[in-house]
């Protein structure tokens, strides 16, 4: 378990800067299996990701592992609403991913946008931001107390000293199988959906 956690942290720490995503090389998108495996490892995954409480754009409390990750594939990225650089572009791109997913968004595949600026990004502010991108039920914009958000970001390799140093990384994962991969949030929406569909394929 400990090794799995380290592996995940290491894999996720290879983050890209927010800057000009187009110019960045696309990282290797080979899925990596990190922990996870039938039934037994559910507890290990729960222990790694933790049930830290986050608050979504509707002001509802969500336990990170149990309510947000478990039982579905997830797309996770980091943003803050006052970002003038890449964030609106990333969110607009994920809106197209949401449209491509159609009815699968929510039950089968969830999009999680976690703020790196929890003080300024209150649930109300996130709600306005989400509305700009016509986010549906399957797309949760998450904030929390600064401590909770820091804890979750730490588990995902998304910690930054300042909000504007956040990354444009998009994590795609399935905690049921333990498969995770990483790409950029500005990747073509069709490619992102394809990665979601094939994340559990045997190499």
């Amino acid at each position: 378990m400990r090794r799995a956690a380290l592996l995940l942290a290491a894999a996720l720490a290879l983050a890209l800067p927010c800057a000009s995503p187009a110019a960045e090389p696309v990282p290797d998108r080979t899925p990596a299996r990190i922990g996870g495996s039938p039934a037994g490892d559910d507890a290990a995954a729960a222990a790694y990701f933790t049930d830290t409480e986050l608050i979504d754009q509707d002001g509802r409390a969500r336990r990170f592992y149990t309510d947000l990750l478990r039982g579905r594939k997830v797309l996770i990225h980091f943003a803050f609403t006052s970002c003038k650089g890449a964030c609106p572009t990333m969110a607009a791109n994920l809106a197209r991913v949401q449209a491509l997913l159609g009815k699968r968004a929510g039950k089968e595949v969830a999009i999680l946008t976690i703020t790196v600026d929890p003080v300024n990004d209150t649930p109300k502010v996130l709600k306005r931001f989400a509305a700009k991108f016509s986010a549906g039920d399957g797309w949760r914009f998450l904030t929390g107390t600064p401590d909770s958000v820091e804890k979750v970001l730490g588990r995902l390799g998304g910690l930054t000293k300042k909000p504007d140093e956040h990354t444009s990384t998009l994590l795609i994962g399935d905690v049921t199988t333990g498969m995770w991969l990483k790409t950029v949030a500005t990747e073509r929406p069709e490619t992102i959906v394809q990665l979601v569909d094939h994340i559990n394929d045997k190499p």
Binding site: G59, S82, K84, G85, N120, T122, K124, D164
Partner: protein, 542 residues
């Protein structure tokens, strides 16, 4: 340090210029720093801004026209529009026009030395070329500006105002700031019923500033305390007006009731008030403005109570929450906090039992509780409501009474009240931490008072004034040597978990004017009738 800043600035500039495809200009960028700036408008003419420059200043810092109308800018290809504050130049180029770098995109400096230098690559900007750049995104020599630089919808008169201000950005010393001293005001009751408390707070503020001044002040500015007597009131409106007439730079630890006229004037003059005193906890977070509260709102106290309740397993057949609160904005804020936290945690919607302020009927409230059989009662008030609730006979003697939460400031500490509180399983919600660290903070405040020969009295008032002074001094340090009121507000907005000594750690934000979103809980032990901690500081999300 200075070297580092310069280096960083130069690097940001280099990045900006290379991003703009103008590598040749790098040489010029280096020259900017070394050569004396041949600026057409000397600093002398910036001491007092012209009316045009003042209008331009508003566009630059607030993204607003003199009429109050927000400025609009569109981003390059995407066509996304930015309005008002989000479109303000200062947002990207910095309050002093020094330039910034965000996510690798550099917003170049816009200082007069940069824009209007005769040896500028591509030539110094003129009113004409500046208008084209801001409106159409085209710099001299047909160079396109970066996509993230908004193309602004401004007519020529507004662009000329902006031009007038850009000749002074970074040098427009606030007229109320001198290089030697900074005048900071406090309205405090020095005569009348509250005179002793007012004098106590004044002495603490004076001692806190004396300590800073003994170390050379803040950026060599001596902090001067200007006190205006609010006389027999904790309202402070008239005294605050007098302080504003005297052009104090900011207010600190000043009594404040949020009175309409004084509040409007404070906002219009953009004079920050840090740590208002005398009006109790704020009702809720106003979200904007220039008043920075150091204590959590009543809504937050209700939220913490509900969060605490929700963390415990619900007894079978548990009813809703009953919120007993005064009618009016303060009681409503308390109810709102309870309602949103209950919704957040999937609890049934709390039931409201309002009463006319000052006319609390404890028996009627107890009846309502007996009928509803709530899981818990949250009681708010401003006076003796809690004592009367505790003293009222419980109508449902056969059933255990529901859990009871109330703000700690309502609690009397006499043995009789404590015994009743223990029997009622009362949980007190405190606006400050109640842990060991807080005890040590209060001890170090005592030794501070001793050091400065300030007699300890009205300790809550003294503690609040001390924390207010600490927060203000910290923000002044962070605001830098080129001090302006918007700069101070921005520095306050960037405080994160700053520990001012007594009271909660302080975090402000762009839409956050209440520095603490949390509370701690204590209960009364039935065996000893002692108040003891039930939970550590609990943070909640607004």
């Amino acid at each position: 340090m200075g070297h580092l800043v310069t280096k960083r600035r130069r690097r940001a500039l280099a990045a900006a210029l290379s991003a703009l495809g103008l590598a040749a200009a790098l040489k010029g960028a280096a020259a900017v720093r070394d050569a004396p700036a041949p600026a057409p408008a000397g600093p002398a003419s910036c001491a007092e801004l012209s009316p045009a420059a003042l209008r331009g200043r508003r566009i630059f810092h607030h993204g607003a026209l003199a009429s109050g109308e927000p400025v609009e800018g569109r981003l390059g290809a995407s066509g996304a529009a930015l309005h008002g504050k989000a479109a303000a130049c200062a947002g990207c180029h910095g309050r002093s026009g020094d330039g910034t770098s965000e996510g690798g995109v550099a917003a170049p400096p816009l200082t007069p030395e940069q824009l209007f230098a005769a040896d500028r690559a591509g030539g110094a900007y003129t009113a004409e070329t500046l208008a084209i750049a801001v409106r159409d995104g085209r710099a001299p020599a047909a160079r396109e500006l970066h996509l993230v630089m908004p193309r602004y919808r401004l007519d020529r008169a507004h662009l000329d105002d902006l031009h007038a201000y850009l000749r002074c950005v970074g040098r427009d010393a606030d007229p109320d700031v001198s290089p030697e001293a900074l005048r900071l005001g406090a309205a405090l009751p020095l005569t009348g019923r509250f005179a002793a408390a007012g004098a106590a707070a004044r002495d603490v503020l004076a001692a806190a500033f004396a300590e800073v001044n003994a170390q050379g002040g803040v950026f060599r500015r001596r902090l001067e305390l200007v006190v205006a007597d609010s006389e027999d009131t904790l309202d402070g409106a008239a005294a605050t007006s007098r302080l504003l007439d005297q052009r104090v730079f900011a207010l600190v630890g000043s009594v404040w009731s949020g009175d309409g006229d004084a509040a409007a004037r404070l906002a219009a003059d953009e004079v920050p008030l840090v740590g208002p005193l005398g009006s109790g906890l704020p009702a809720s977070d106003p979200g904007d403005g220039v008043v920075f509260h150091l204590q959590p709102g009543l809504d937050t106290l209700a939220r913490v109570a509900v969060a605490h309740l929700a963390a415990a397993p619900a007894p079978t057949g548990a009813g809703a929450l009953l919120v007993v609160h005064p009618a009016g904005p303060r009681g409503d804020a308390f109810l709102r906090g309870a309602r949103s936290e209950a919704l957040r945690r999937g609890l049934p919607a709390p039931v409201s039992f309002p009463f006319e302020p000052g006319r609390f009927d404890a028996a009627a409230a107890a009846d309502a509780a007996a009928r509803l059989r709530p899981r818990a009662v949250l009681l708010a008030g401003e006076g003796d409501e809690l004592s009367r609730w505790l003293a009222a006979p419980s109508p449902s003697a056969t059933r255990p009474r529901p859990a009871l939460y109330a703000p700690a400031f309502l609690m009397r500490r006499d043995p009789g009240s404590l015994r009743l509180a223990a029997a009622a399983r009362l949980l007190l919600v405190h606006a400050s931490p109640t842990d060991e660290a807080e005890r040590l903070d209060l001890l170090s405040l005592s030794s501070f008072l001793e050091r400065h020969r300030v007699p300890p009295r009205h300790t809550a008032f003294q503690a609040s004034a001390y924390a207010a002074a600490r927060v203000l001094v910290e923000a002044l340090k962070r605001a830098g040597a080129h001090l302006t009121r918007p700069g101070l507000v921005a520095a306050l907005e960037e405080l994160r978990g700053f520990d001012p000594g007594p009271g909660p750690a302080i975090t402000f934000g762009r839409n956050r004017r209440v520095g603490a979103y949390g509370a701690s809980l204590t209960g009364v032990d039935p065996a000893s009738n002692d108040v003891s901690p039930v939970s550590a500081w609990v943070e909640v999300v607004p």
